[in-house]
């Protein structure tokens, strides 16, 4: 029984970065922008937080409040800047979204590993990683009840992920802003004709989405891996987040369940008595499940479950 509980907690911990990424990507995609740069943005968010934390920690005494605030702000700034770059290229310059997104992922992962590697060199340590233990402690101990759980310490970022997903879900479904946002994703020309500022919405949703996704990177470093940055440590979680968007049929509140499920699938091999050989097949499961959902949704053709109709297309007013 305890083992099952432990597994469930680990699944939530593992699913949280995916939830941030998925929430951010849903927000972006609902306005019609398929941001394949999300994996890169999550790397940038993570390393920006690490850079902020590193310089704060090495500067002297660590105040727990500032230890949380500085990496948080630098993470948000880093992911905002990269999202702005993507928005500028795809919305203002109307570049192809797939190409821009993939280039951004190459850039972002490279950016993370380069600065991560450089910081590791700065510390003159022989280990291939960088540990921000004090900062990480501040994150994990922010909530008074965080360290009494079975799965070890955990911080507020886990709860923030759920809150953000619910907020995005609410805004999208229940508010005028959300309605206008969704209308842009379905048909930007119609939205434009109705007087909605397409450019502003696309910028806003992409940048906010990018910042939320960036927090996933920050959580992974500061909370999940106890402040340890390792090059390529974040792995393919960014792509898994994009898979969850499909799995959750573009609904953030489904993404909560989806993320924890995928998080569980991601670590399930540790808890089954399966041999090492089967491990890759278990890790493959999330992607197979996503493909099945994608097929299922497109076969059923229920309007509200389909991808936004204008997903991946740039909008130019004169092109009607």
């Amino acid at each position: 029984m305890e083992k099952v509980l432990l597994f469930l907690i680990r699944a939530v911990l593992q699913g949280t970065p995916l939830l941030y990424g998925a929430t951010g990507e849903i927000l972006t995609e609902k306005a019609g922008n398929l941001n394949l740069g999300i994996p890169g943005i999550m790397y940038v968010g993570a390393i920006s937080g690490v850079i902020g934390g590193f310089f704060y920690q090495t500067s002297g005494s660590v105040n727990p409040f500032l230890a949380i605030l500085i990496p948080l702000l630098s993470c948000l700034l880093g992911s905002l800047l990269t999202s702005l770059l993507y928005s500028f290229l795809t919305v203002t310059l109307r570049a192809n979204q797939n190409v821009t997104g993939l280039a951004l992922t190459t850039f972002g992962v490279g950016f993370g590993n380069f600065f991560g590697g450089s910081l590791i060199k700065l510390t003159n340590s022989s280990t291939p990683y960088l540990a921000l233990t004090k900062i990480s402690k501040a994150y994990q101990n922010f909530l008074p009840f965080g360290n009494q759980q079975l799965g070890g310490q955990h911080g507020f970022l886990i709860y923030l992920a759920v809150v953000l997903a619910l907020i995005v879900s609410f805004v999208m479904k229940r508010t005028r802003v959300g309605l206008q946002l969704r209308s842009i994703g379905e048909s930007p020309a119609t939205a434009d004709a109705a007087g909605i500022n397409v450019t502003r919405y696309k910028y806003l949703s992409t940048c906010l989405g990018g910042m939320i996704a960036g927090l996933g990177g920050l959580y992974y470093i500061m909370d999940y891996s106890n402040g340890v940055w390792q090059n390529d440590g974040f792995g393919d979680r960014g792509w898994l987040a994009i898979a969850i968007v499909i799995f959750a049929v573009w609904r953030p509140h489904f993404a909560i369940v989806g993320s924890y499920l995928f998080g569980g699938l991601y670590i399930m091999y540790n808890y089954l008595n399966a041999s090492m050989q089967v491990q890759p097949l278990l890790q493959m499961l999330p992607y197979v499940v996503t493909i099945i959902v994608l097929i299922f949704v497109s076969v059923r053709k229920k309007r509200e479950n389909l991808p936004p109709a204008a997903l991946g297309l740039s909008y130019f007013r004169e092109d009607r």
Partner: protein
């Protein structure tokens, strides 16, 4: 004037900047804009490198040149990388011309490589090498084609989003390879190298290990150009890409074209996997494609899907990559530096397309005075 939906008042004013689509542009102007953007990108990269390494700009560029053309080995390696990247780009191009966003090139290459490795292990030493190579070729091409046909069939029948579908297929292929490695490797090293894949190596041409792959890709470039521009299939692909309705109207079987083209695209990716595993590395791991499936998308798109232009664009990417690697080695900085450089160059080229496709008009002063 107010709008029912936004509930906001709309102020009437002439915007400072208006944008319109350009009808056409002389070839040399387009070329100049693109060349200009590459130049600016190279300058920016040089400045960043100078900032990071403290080296002077001239020496930065000469280091990059050295990384590509420094000695005979480096040149061969550069051409080999160029050929492999170009090969994947060529494979993806028919699908892109059809506006089918196949971002599953990585997975199609990997599954081709996996099929090759499976044949090498299962049949190696039991049948003569020449027939083994034939079996490897057929199975890798088939595997790649299957990996392409699956998303294409769903796209054709139910309009399933192909971008997301092909993306997911990449990871299925990647984990299948990991599974294969776990199954085959008994030593616990988590690798399957030349020791296990000891049979079915492709012959070396003129004693150069890279030459065979380069020749195959060179031939493929010419064939692909002819296929896309002078064959009935190529024509059908273009029509479907321009407008599916038009294609249907003139009697083209759109579903058939989508599936056939993706089969070709996947099969060629499988061929690259075959060349990578059988022709050079004689080993398999999830990194054999080395991100080429993704980079090739950029290569193909930057070249406007023209096979000969792709030679130039893939050279540009490979040049930046190897050049930045050389800088990283020389100054002892992290090799991921090359990814940053490649990213910057691509951003500039993507951005410059805007100035080719659109025209910017500033608010005229005369209009202001007339008010």
């Amino acid at each position: 004037m107010s709008s029912e939906i936004t509930g906001k008042k709309i102020k009437e004013h002439e915007p400072l900047i208006t944008i319109s689509r350009r009808k056409s542009m002389a070839f040399w102007v387009r070329l100049a804009i693109r060349a200009g953007s590459v130049l600016v990108a190279l300058i920016v990269c040089g400045l960043i490198t100078r900032f990071v390494t403290g080296d002077d700009p001239i020496s930065v560029y000469s280091t990059m040149l050295e990384g590509n053309f420094g000695d005979l080995d480096k040149m061969w390696y550069m051409f080999y990388n160029l050929a492999m990247l170009l090969g994947v780009a060529l494979a993806l191009t028919p699908a892109f011309r059809m506006k089918f966003w196949n971002i599953g090139g990585e997975g199609q290459v990997l599954i081709g490589g996996l099929a090759t490795a499976v044949c090498m292990i299962a049949l190696g030493g039991r049948i003569p090498d020449w027939s083994l190579i034939l079996v490897m070729l057929i199975s890798s091409v088939t595997a790649g084609a299957v990996w392409g046909i699956i998303p294409a069939a769903f796209k054709a029948k139910w309009r399933t989003n192909e971008t997301l579908f092909t993306l997911m297929m990449n990871y299925v292929a990647m984990y299948l390879i990991k599974y294969f490695i776990e199954r085959v490797d008994q030593s616990g090293s988590h690798t399957v190298g030349p020791k296990l894949l000891s049979h079915g190596w492709l012959p070396t041409v003129l004693g150069e290990q890279y030459l065979l792959n380069i020749i195959v890709i060179a031939a493929l470039t010419v064939i692909m150009y002819a296929y896309l521009n002078y064959s009935k299939h190529g024509y059908e692909i273009s029509v479907v890409g321009e407008s599916e309705n038009t294609a249907r109207y003139v009697g083209i079987n759109v579903k058939k074209v989508i599936i056939r083209t993706m089969a070709l695209s996947g099969a060629l990716c499988g061929l690259i996997g075959f060349l990578l595993v059988g022709g050079f590395s004689h080993s398999i791991d999830p990194n054999i494609a080395d991100g080429r499936g993704f980079t090739a998308i950029l290569v193909s798109w930057l070249a406007k899907f023209n096979p000969f232009t792709m030679v130039v664009t893939s050279f540009l990417i490979v040049f930046m990559d190897l050049g930045a690697e050389e800088i990283a080695t020389k100054f002892g900085i992290n090799p991921s530096f090359s990814d940053i450089m490649t990213g910057i160059i691509i951003f500039f080229i993507i951005g410059c397309e805007f100035f080719i496709n659109y025209q910017i008009h500033f608010r005229k002063k005369a209009a202001k005075e007339a008010e």
